[in-house]
Symmetry: C2
Subunit: 145 residues, 2 copies
């Protein structure tokens, strides 16, 4: 297992243990961890704090993202993908995209390299969560009436 993806999975598990949505993220710059984060919709009553956004929030103002890679346990949605494009983060490594296909093509069309590790551990974590709390998951991806 990639050590940075393992950190992202640890963040996702932390989120789950807090009663939240199990998605974690890690920002790496020049080969070193800058920040970690996880989805905090439930914990902070905040719809914009997806895992990737919380991670970028925690990183603060770091200047250029040219030499960064962002890890996420799940394929980014349009909010997070738009942020990756706007911040010019060149590479995204995700745990899986089976439970949520996200905005891969949009990122790739803007020159972002996207690597999908398709990890059984990440798929199982999301499948268990979605089965247990379908309403919360639908709210997080805005699949609402």
């Amino acid at each position: 297992m990639d050590e940075f993806m393992q950190l992202a999975i640890d963040e996702a598990k932390k989120g789950r243990s807090e009663g939240g949505i199990p998605i974690g993220s890690v920002l790496v710059k020049d080969g070193k961890v800058v920040a970690t984060g996880h989805n905090k919709r439930v914990q902070e009553n905040n719809p914009i704090l997806h895992g990737e956004m919380d991670c970028l929030n925690n990183a603060g103002r770091i200047g250029s993202y040219r030499n960064t890679v962002i890890y996420s346990t799940l394929m980014p949605c349009y909010m997070c993908a738009g942020t990756i494009v706007q911040f010019k983060i060149p590479k995204v490594i995700v745990g899986e995209s089976k439970t949520f296909s996200g905005a891969r093509e949009f990122m790739e069309s803007h020159g972002v390299e996207v690597v999908d590790l398709n990890l059984p551990e990440c798929i199982e974590m999301m499948e268990d969560f979605i089965k247990e709390k379908p309403e919360l998951w639908n709210e997080d991806i805005m699949e609402l009436e």
Copy 2:
């Protein structure tokens, strides 16, 4: 002047008076103000709190965005545009797009209605700011080396 755009301009001015970037936003649901916000990159050392994101953050978890309109004094960037698409906000009303062209086509390609009021007051506010603090503006739109 549209009363909601006036509120967004007031938010932008508040941000400027705090030493921040003068971009304000208002979320309206069923014709009523749900939340206001402004860019807080400087104030909270936070790269994800553009005006629109701060506004959605302040609104909290409101369920469906189907009957909402988001106002911004400036055309949304890819982060904010991606969020608008993900949250399924159907309509965006902006003060101007002369100083920053943003991601209008991306939003429209996803069915979002975009109205550009092209207001001299908003253009002047951004032109003055960009002239005074070009490095800060370049950081906010990630035009960095």
